[in-house]
């Protein structure tokens, strides 16, 4: 069962890939073979790859020509990209909305013991969880997740799924993942991206 019906209209035009769809689901999974442009689409929506288009969520539109800082998006890349000179807490607080307390993600994502550690001392899975918390702390209207389960320990996956489901209650989630089981657990709307 989906938690709620969210109307998402997406039209993205990038130099080598183009995608357009409409759906009534808060969680959308981009699927397709490696190199077909899934990550590029996420980067286009995030504003860090040149793109044209529009994303409309429950009637509210966001122009994809806006600069990235002016978009209400949270982007969580596959390689986490934590700021190496900031500790975990500072990373999470970097773009945090004033209405959000980062403590609310600490327990769910098991980050309590990591808050004062520097990113280089974290495992890949820990880095991804911090990146997810950092993106959510921005309170985005659209959450973009690039292979969020790739480096996760199986024990953490159920917590990640619960958090992504909870996040989707108040925003659209667009993600890439090769993991069919996790996408089924999230009841994601599948969009198949073909080679450009």
């Amino acid at each position: 069962m989906r938690d709620r019906a969210t109307r998402v209209d997406l039209h993205v035009d990038l130099p080598r890939v183009r995608i357009a769809f409409e759906c009534d689901a808060p969680i959308i999974a981009l699927r397709g073979p490696s190199g077909c442009g899934k990550t590029t689409i996420l980067r286009g929506i995030a504003g860090i790859a040149r793109a044209h288009g529009l994303i409309i969520i429950d009637g509210a539109s966001m122009d994809l020509t806006l600069p990235p800082e002016a978009r209400a998006i949270g982007y969580c890349p596959q390689d986490a990209l934590l700021f190496p000179h900031l500790n975990v807490r500072e990373n999470m607080a970097f773009g945090a909305s004033s209405k959000v307390s980062i403590e609310e993600f600490v327990d769910t994502l098991a980050l309590g013991s990591l808050l004062t550690r520097m990113p280089r001392s974290l495992s890949g899975g820990e880095q991804q969880r911090v990146a997810l918390a950092r993106a959510l702390a921005r309170e985005p209207r659209v959450l973009l997740l690039d292979e969020p389960f790739a480096a996760q320990h199986p024990e953490m996956r159920s917590q990640m799924i619960a958090l992504i489901r909870r996040a989707s209650q108040s925003r659209a989630v667009i993600m890439t993942s090769h993991d069919e089981a996790n996408l089924k657990a999230l009841d994601a709307f599948m969009v198949h991206v073909l080679h450009a």
């Binding site: 504003g47 970097f94 921005r138």
Partner: protein, 224 residues
Amino acid sequence: MGWLSELSEALLVSAGVASTALGLSAPFAIATGLALARLRGLQRAVAMGAVLVPMVLPPVVIGFGLLTALGRHGLFGGALDALGVQLAFSFAGAVAAASCVGFPLFALSAKSAFESVDPKLEEVARTLGASRWRVLRQVSLPLAFPALAGGATLFFARALGEFGATMIFAGDAPGRTRTLALATYAALQRPDGDADAVSFCVASLMLSMLAIALHLSLTRARHA
């Protein structure tokens, strides 16, 4: 004047000239390095050429150029005189000469420093709501800092050892523009000055080694 007091006076002038030149040049060298790291194509080639020119010119030519442009009878001498500023044959002139010869080293180090920052980190910062200015302050500059500090030490070391441009543009006035390099030259001109010159050379060598050690420790910190 004994050699020790002459040495300490020259050291003070050298340190004052190099520190002032570094303080005044640093913002421009960092901005130039950032521009060089971001520019592409012809613009980058032209800017690189302009920055590299003082590195390949003989310092004497730089000094003569400064004198021609900023001296009392130079191109802008009248305008500077009207403002009450006299650069030639003054401490400020020594600072200008040291800045000219040290600037390329700092700017090129800053360019490498900014190029070494992963652009993906800057992109992610922007998706987190940071403006370009905030990304520069809170991501790019802190990550580039060790290499920038390394560039600053190179600038400082080069400014300490500057001779030709300073001699031509600032002259050799003890206590005002006589740096350690100029004091060494002045000692060599005296019939009994060889021993003093050796002392000044040893001091120069020790200062240079200190600067190199600082530069290496900062660049090692960057790669640690």
